[in-house]
C-alpha cells in the first residue's frame, strides 16, 4: 500500500504544499493572459478549454473517486442551464441566483436517481445513467410547455440580450467570462483536493478499491457516494448555466446529449481520473487537438480531423492507461524524492 501520499506531502521551503504552490502559480499565470494579449479568438479558445476542464472536473468528483462510469452527466448540465435561463426569462431573476437553484435541482434529481442505481455495479450503473439522461432529454425535446413553463421543446432556449450587465451575467467582452470560468475551475479543483483528504474521500477510495471489503470495515457506501454524486451534479449544473450565459442559447440536443457526457468522461479518463489535476490535463490535451485538427483539416478533407482526434485517443489509452497525469506524477515524485532523501 502506498502510504506516502497519505502521510507525507512534499513541502516547499515556505512550508506550503508543493502542489498548492504549483496550482497557485499556474492559475496566476493563466489569469494574466487577458492582460497581456488582446486576441478574442485566443481568449475564446481558452474559455472552451477551461469550460471543459471544469465539466470534466465535476464529473471526476464522483466518477473518478467512486470508480463508477456515469454517461448521464450532461443531463445535470442541461438542468442547470434550463433552470437559470427560465428563471431569468420568466421571473427576471439574475442567472447568478438561478444557477444556484439549477444546481440544487440537479443535486436533488441526482439523489433520486442515485439512490436506487448505486446498488448497481459496472455496466449496469452506466446503462442506467444513460437511460435517465436520455429520458430527460427526449422529454424536454418533446415538451413545448410544462405547467405553464415554456420549455420550447427541441427548439431550445434563447437568453435575451440584456447588454453589459454583471447582474444579468452578460458581457460584451469575453474577458469577464474568462475569469468566471477560471474561478469556477479553481473552486472545483480546490473542492476535489479538500474532498480527497476528507473522510468522504477516504470512504470513496475505499469503495473504489473493493466495495465488499469497505463494507466489511463498516463503511456504508451509499451515503458517501450519494453525497459525492449530489455535489458533482450541483457543480455540473453550474457549468451548464455558464454555457447558457456564454453562448446565450441552449438546446436539449447539445446541452443534455450523450456527446457532452462522453466528452466529460473521456477528458477525465485521458487526463487521469481520481486525481485533482487529471481532468484539467485531459481538457488541455484534447480541446486544442480537436480545435487545431478542425481548423487545419476540417475544411479540406471533411471528417479527417475526427480521425486524428480518434487516433490521439487510442494512443492515450494504449500508452497511458492511468491517464496522462501518471507519467507526470512519476516525474514530480522522482524530483521531490531526490530532494527529500537528502537528510
Amino acid at each position: 500500500m502506498n502510504t506516502r501520499t497519505i502521510t507525507a506531502t512534499p513541502r516547499s521551503a515556505a512550508g506550503l504544499p508543493l502542489g498548492a504552490l504549483a496550482a497557485g502559480l499556474g492559475f496566476g499565470c493563466v489569469a494574466l493572459v487577458p492582460l497581456l494579449v488582446d486576441d478574442p479568438f485566443l481568449i475564446h479558445s481558452l474559455i472552451m478549454v477551461l469550460f471543459f476542464a471544469y465539466m470534466a472536473s465535476s464529473w471526476n468528483f464522483l466518477c473518478g473517486y467512486v470508480g463508477q462510469l456515469s454517461l448521464g452527466h450532461a443531463m445535470f448540465s442541461g438542468v442547470g442551464g434550463y433552470v437559470s435561463v427560465l428563471m431569468f426569462t420568466q421571473l427576471g431573476l439574475s442567472p447568478w441566483i438561478g444557477m444556484l437553484f439549477g444546481g440544487l435541482l440537479a443535486a436533488g434529481l441526482s439523489v433520486l436517481i442515485g439512490y436506487p442505481t448505486f446498488r448497481l455495479k459496472g455496466p449496469y450503473f452506466t446503462l442506467t445513467t444513460i437511460a435517465f439522461a436520455e429520458i430527460v432529454r427526449i422529454w424536454v425535446e418533446n415538451t413545448n410547455d410544462f405547467i405553464g413553463v415554456p420549455l420550447k421543446g427541441a427548439e431550445g432556449l434563447v437568453v435575451p440580450a440584456a447588454g453589459d450587465s454583471l447582474w444579468a451575467f452578460q458581457f460584451s467582452s469575453k474577458t469577464p467570462y474568462f475569469y468566471i470560468i477560471l474561478a469556477m475551475l479553481a473552486l472545483v479543483m480546490l473542492a476535489t483536493r479538500l474532498m480527497e483528504r476528507s473522510k468522504l474521500g477516504y470512504c470513496l477510495k475505499a469503495v473504489r478499491g473493493d466495495r465488499d471489503a469497505a463494507e466489511a470495515l463498516g463503511i456504508n457506501p451509499t451515503p458517501s457516494t450519494l453525497a459525492a454524486l449530489a455535489i458533482s451534479a450541483f457543480m455540473t449544473a453550474l457549468g451548464g448555466s455558464f454555457y447558457a450565459q456564454f453562448f446565450r442559447y441552449i438546446n436539449p440536443e447539445r446541452n443534455m446529449g450523450l456527446e457532452l457526457s462522453i466528452d466529460m468522461a473521456v477528458m477525465t479518463i485521458i487526463g487521469g481520473q481520481g486525481t485533482v489535476a487529471g481532468p484539467l490535463l485531459g481538457a488541455l490535451i484534447l480541446t486544442p487537438i480537436s480545435e487545431m485538427a478542425r481548423s487545419h483539416l476540417g475544411g479540406g478533407l471533411p471528417g479527417l480531423h475526427l480521425v486524428v482526434y480518434g487516433l490521439v485517443l487510442m494512443a492515450c489509452v494504449l500508452y497511458f492507461p492511468k491517464g496522462a497525469i501518471a507519467p507526470l506524477g512519476r516525474l514530480a515524485k522522482r524530483l521531490t524524492d531526490r530532494r527529500g532523501s537528502r537528510p
Binding site: H44, S45, E141, G156, Y249, R294, S295, G298, P302
Partner: protein, 422 residues
C-alpha cells in the same frame, strides 16, 4: 560625402517601405476570403458537404469568369469551418474565421441551432453573414444589421404547402377538406406542424390527425393505421431520409389511398439518396416542397448554372440538390455585393448586401424570381418550389411562374387500384 549617401539610403528605404505599403492592399485584393461555417462532419454532414460543393463550384465559376471586376479581378477564396452541427463549435469556428482568417463575409450554417448563436458573433464583429439553409424564423427577427437570409423562413414553408393545395383546388375546382400531419418529433418537424396548423385553420382545412413520430423508427404500421382510420384527403409529411424511406415503402405496400396525395416538406424527399432507395411506384404523384426548383436544369439555358451543376455532380457523385444550389446562390449574392461595394471593407460590403436587388442570373439558381432583403435581412421574395412526381420526373407545379408549359399536375391522384401495373 557621408550625408548624401545617408540620405540616399533613407530615400531608398522609404521607397521600399512605400512600395511594401502600396503592395499590401494590392496583394490583399488578389483574393477575397469568404468564410463558410457548415456541418461537414456529424449528423448533418451530407447536407453540409452538398452546400460546400455548391459554394466551391460557384466560386470556381466566378473566378474563371474574371473574379470580382470592381476589385481588379480579385478571386473568391472560400474558407470552410466545420460546425459539427454543434452550437459551441459553430461559434468557435465563426470566431476563428473572423479573427484568424480575416474573412470579408460569412455564410452558413444550415442547422438553425448553430446559425442562431453564430450569427450573433458575426453581428458583434460587424461582419456580414449570409444565412444558408436555416429556417428558424427568429434568425431574421432580431433587428440585426449584418445578417441576411436568402432562403425561406419556417413559416413560408408551411404557407406554401397550403398555397399549392389552394392553387390546385382553384385550377380544378376540387378542394381537399381534411389533412393529416405526420412529422418527426424534433425541432424542424414540430415547428413545421405548428405552422401548418395555424395556416390550415385560416384556409378552411380540417386537421384530422396530428402525429409526431420519434426519429429512426423500424416500423410505420401504427402510424399508417392511424392515417387509414382518420381517412384524410391529404397527408402533410415532414420526415428525414431514413424514416421517409420506410414510411413511403410501407404506404406503397399497404396501398393506402389518399385522394389528394402526400405532401412532403422536403427532408427525406429532398435527398437524392431517397429516390435511389425506392421503386418508382412508391414516389409516383408525391408532392415535394423544397428550397430549389428541381427541374431548373431542364428549364434553364443559363450556361453558368449548368456548369455549376456539372461541377457539383463531379464533386459529389450525384446531382444538384437544394443544399448545393443554396451554397452556389450565396456565393453569387456575395459576388454581386462585392462588385457594387468595390471593397472588401466589411461595413461597405454590408451596405452593398443590404442594397441587393437581384432579378436575374445564377444567384437565382434556387428558383426565386428576385433577391431583395427587408430591413431585418430577410429575402421577402424567397419561396420554395413544389413539385409532383410525374412519370418518373419531378415537375414543378407551384408557383405557377416556375411551372413548365408542358407540366400537367395530376389532381386528384389516382387510387392504387387504378394505377398502371396493379
Amino acid at each position: 560625402m557621408a550625408k548624401p549617401s545617408r540620405n540616399r539610403i533613407a530615400l531608398l528605404a522609404s521607397t521600399m517601405l512605400f512600395g511594401v505599403l502600396a503592395a499590401g492592399p494590392a496583394l490583399a485584393q488578389s483574393a477575397v476570403k469568404i468564410g463558410c461555417a457548415l456541418p461537414l462532419s456529424g449528423g448533418s454532414a451530407t447536407v453540409g458537404n452538398q452546400t460546400r460543393a455548391g459554394a466551391l463550384a460557384a466560386a470556381e465559376q466566378i473566378n474563371a469568369a474574371g473574379g470580382i471586376k470592381a476589385l481588379n479581378g480579385a478571386k473568391l477564396e472560400v474558407v470552410f469551418g466545420d460546425t459539427q452541427s454543434k452550437a459551441d463549435i459553430g461559434v468557435t469556428e465563426t470566431e476563428r474565421l473572423v479573427t484568424r482568417e480575416n474573412v470579408a463575409a460569412l455564410c452558413g450554417a444550415f442547422n438553425s441551432a448553430v446559425t442562431f448563436p453564430a450569427t450573433e458573433v458575426a453581428e458583434r464583429y460587424k461582419t456580414p453573414w449570409v444565412v444558408v439553409g436555416s429556417v428558424k424564423d427568429e434568425i431574421t427577427e432580431r433587428n440585426f444589421k449584418y445578417v441576411f437570409r436568402i432562403n425561406n423562413k419556417a413559416t413560408y414553408d408551411a404557407r406554401e404547402q397550403l398555397d399549392a393545395l389552394d392553387l390546385l383546388a382553384k385550377e380544378t375546382g376540387k378542394k381537399p377538406k381534411t389533412i393529416a400531419m405526420l412529422y418527426e418529433g424534433s425541432d424542424w418537424g414540430r415547428s413545421h406542424a405548428a405552422n401548418v396548423k395555424r395556416f390550415a385553420k385560416d384556409r378552411g382545412y380540417d386537421i384530422v390527425l396530428d402525429e409526431a413520430a420519434p426519429p429512426n423508427q423500424v416500423d410505420f404500421s401504427n402510424q399508417l393505421l392511424k392515417i387509414r382510420g382518420a381517412r384524410p384527403d391529404a397527408v402533410i409529411v415532414a420526415l428525414y431520409t431514413p424514416d421517409h424511406l420506410l414510411f413511403s415503402r410501407q404506404l406503397m405496400e399497404q396501398r393506402l389511398d389518399l385522394p389528394f396525395g402526400i405532401h412532403s416538406v422536403g427532408g427525406g424527399t429532398e435527398d437524392p439518396a431517397f429516390y435511389k432507395g425506392l421503386p418508382q411506384r412508391a414516389v409516383d404523384y408525391v408532392f415535394v416542397q423544397e428550397d430549389w426548383q428541381i427541374d431548373k436544369l431542364q428549364q434553364t439555358n443559363d450556361k453558368t448554372i449548368l456548369a455549376i451543376a456539372e461541377r457539383t455532380k463531379e464533386m459529389l457523385g450525384y446531382g444538384m440538390s437544394a443544399y448545393a444550389a443554396q451554397g452556389a446562390s450565396a456565393m453569387y449574392v456575395l459576388a454581386d455585393a462585392l462588385e457594387r461595394s468595390g471593397s472588401t471593407d466589411r461595413e461597405k460590403l454590408r451596405d452593398a448586401i443590404a442594397a441587393s436587388d437581384i432579378q436575374s442570373g445564377p444567384a437565382l439558381i434556387t428558383g426565386y424570381g428576385r433577391i431583395k432583403f427587408d430591413e431585418q435581412g430577410q429575402n421577402t421574395h424567397a419561396h420554395g418550389v413544389i413539385s409532383q412526381n410525374l412519370n418518373g420526373q419531378r415537375r414543378t407545379i407551384w408557383p405557377l411562374e416556375n411551372r413548365g408549359s408542358e407540366t400537367k399536375p395530376v389532381w386528384p391522384v389516382p387510387a392504387w387500384s387504378e394505377r398502371k401495373g396493379s
